[in-house]
């Protein structure tokens, strides 16, 4: 009698454990699936952590790259400056914002969907994007959108 009741309880317990393990595995699978397919950061929707002029930003990088990276690397920033150069092609949209150097400046690489058709060379603009670093040949800010 006793052994029959005992083995019944054992089977129920084993079933519960197996169910628990299945649920865990399923959960793990779901998490892995979502991690694997996670989305890229949507820079346009993020708030910029600071505002800076293109002159100051380029100045920081051409003076001391390490210090500049400590301040700006991987941050979403708003950069204001005068457009010294514009590239407006299907897969390549770039606004170069002036610095104290007469050739190099802040390279604002625009989001592909951003319309910069109305931006003229010489205009003052503010862009928001992610700073990926730079040196005395240019500061790179990617995923840029125009802001007011």
């Amino acid at each position: 009698m006793d052994s029959r009741w005992g083995s019944r309880k054992l089977i129920i317990m084993i079933r519960k454990i197996l169910l628990g393990l299945c649920a865990l595995a399923l959960l793990g699978g779901i998490v892995a699936y979502f991690q694997y397919n996670k989305k890229h950061r949507d820079i346009a929707s993020e708030e910029s952590s600071l505002k800076i002029t293109s002159v100051a930003l380029f100045g920081a990088y051409s003076t001391n790259e390490k210090e500049a990276n400590a301040l700006y690397l991987d941050k979403v920033i708003s950069v204001t400056g005068e457009v010294s150069e514009k590239t407006d092609e299907e897969n390549s949209k770039l606004l170069v914002l002036k610095s104290d150097d007469d050739f190099f400046g802040v390279n604002a690489s625009m989001e592909n969907g951003e319309d910069i058709g109305n931006i003229e060379v010489g205009a003052q603009v503010t862009v928001k994007g992610r700073c990926t670093g730079g040196d005395d040949m240019g500061v790179i800010v990617t995923n840029c959108t125009l802001v007011n």
């Binding site: 991690q35 694997y36 397919n37 996670k38 989305k39 890229h40 950061r41 790259e65 990276n69 690397l73 991987d74 150069e85 590239t87 897969n91 390549s92 770039l94 170069v96 050739f103 190099f104 390279n107 690489s109 992610r130 990926t132 670093g133 730079g134 040196d135 040949m137 240019g138 790179i140 990617t142």
Partner: protein, 183 residues
């Protein structure tokens, strides 16, 4: 009279040498591709700054690692955080020479090949590299294309055993730059 002419000729040639053009791009493209039985890994960076001197052949480029775009965000994260450690080493650079720059006629449309040698720095490690590059001159613009095999281990890029299977021993890195004259 003859001496004066020769002097003027020499000065004119020297002046032309000084006037030799520099070419640049701010939207140079570097891509790499790795194929294994498990998965294909592909990334593109279209914000490379590159400059070369048509007279001396000196060429250099700078690329910010965080601007490499992968289709899978998770792959991009692993690349930045675990492999190239872009917080610590945000930039890779190349500084070298276009060996046969003299054979490139920048005023005549055409395709020119030359070996490019120099120092490539990735992940804080510098190595001497060399590769063949093709320079296509058209309407005063120069398109430079080169491919190079890069072994991550050469640059102390550690890829954990489990993931190592997924990545080919050497990555094929392609560089494509559309240079224009620097005025």
């Amino acid at each position: 009279m003859m001496k004066k002419l020769i002097l003027i000729a020499i000065l004119a040639m020297a002046h032309l040498g000084l006037m030799a053009q520099k070419y640049f791009t701010r939207t140079g493209e570097i891509s790499f591709f790795s194929s294994t039985s498990v998965e294909d890994i592909e990334a593109h960076n279209k914000t490379v700054t590159a400059v070369f001197d048509a007279a001396s052949g000196a060429i250099q480029f700078s690329v910010t690692m965080k601007a490499f775009h992968f289709e899978k965000a998770l792959m991009e994260e692993h690349f930045n955080e675990n492999y190239v450690e872009s917080d610590e080493f945000p930039k890779s650079t190349f500084k070298g020479t276009i060996k046969d720059v003299e054979s490139i006629n920048f005023k005549k449309d055409g395709e020119y090949n030359s070996e490019v040698v120099g120092k490539l720095t990735i992940h804080g490690v510098t190595k001497e590299v060399s590769t063949m590059a093709t320079f296509t001159v058209k309407d005063g613009k120069v398109m430079g294309i080169a491919k190079i095999q890069v072994n991550p281990e050469d640059y102390k890029i550690e890829i954990p055993g489990v993931v190592r299977e997924k990545i080919a021993k050497e990555l094929e890195v392609t560089m494509k730059m559309d240079f224009v004259e620097k005025k």
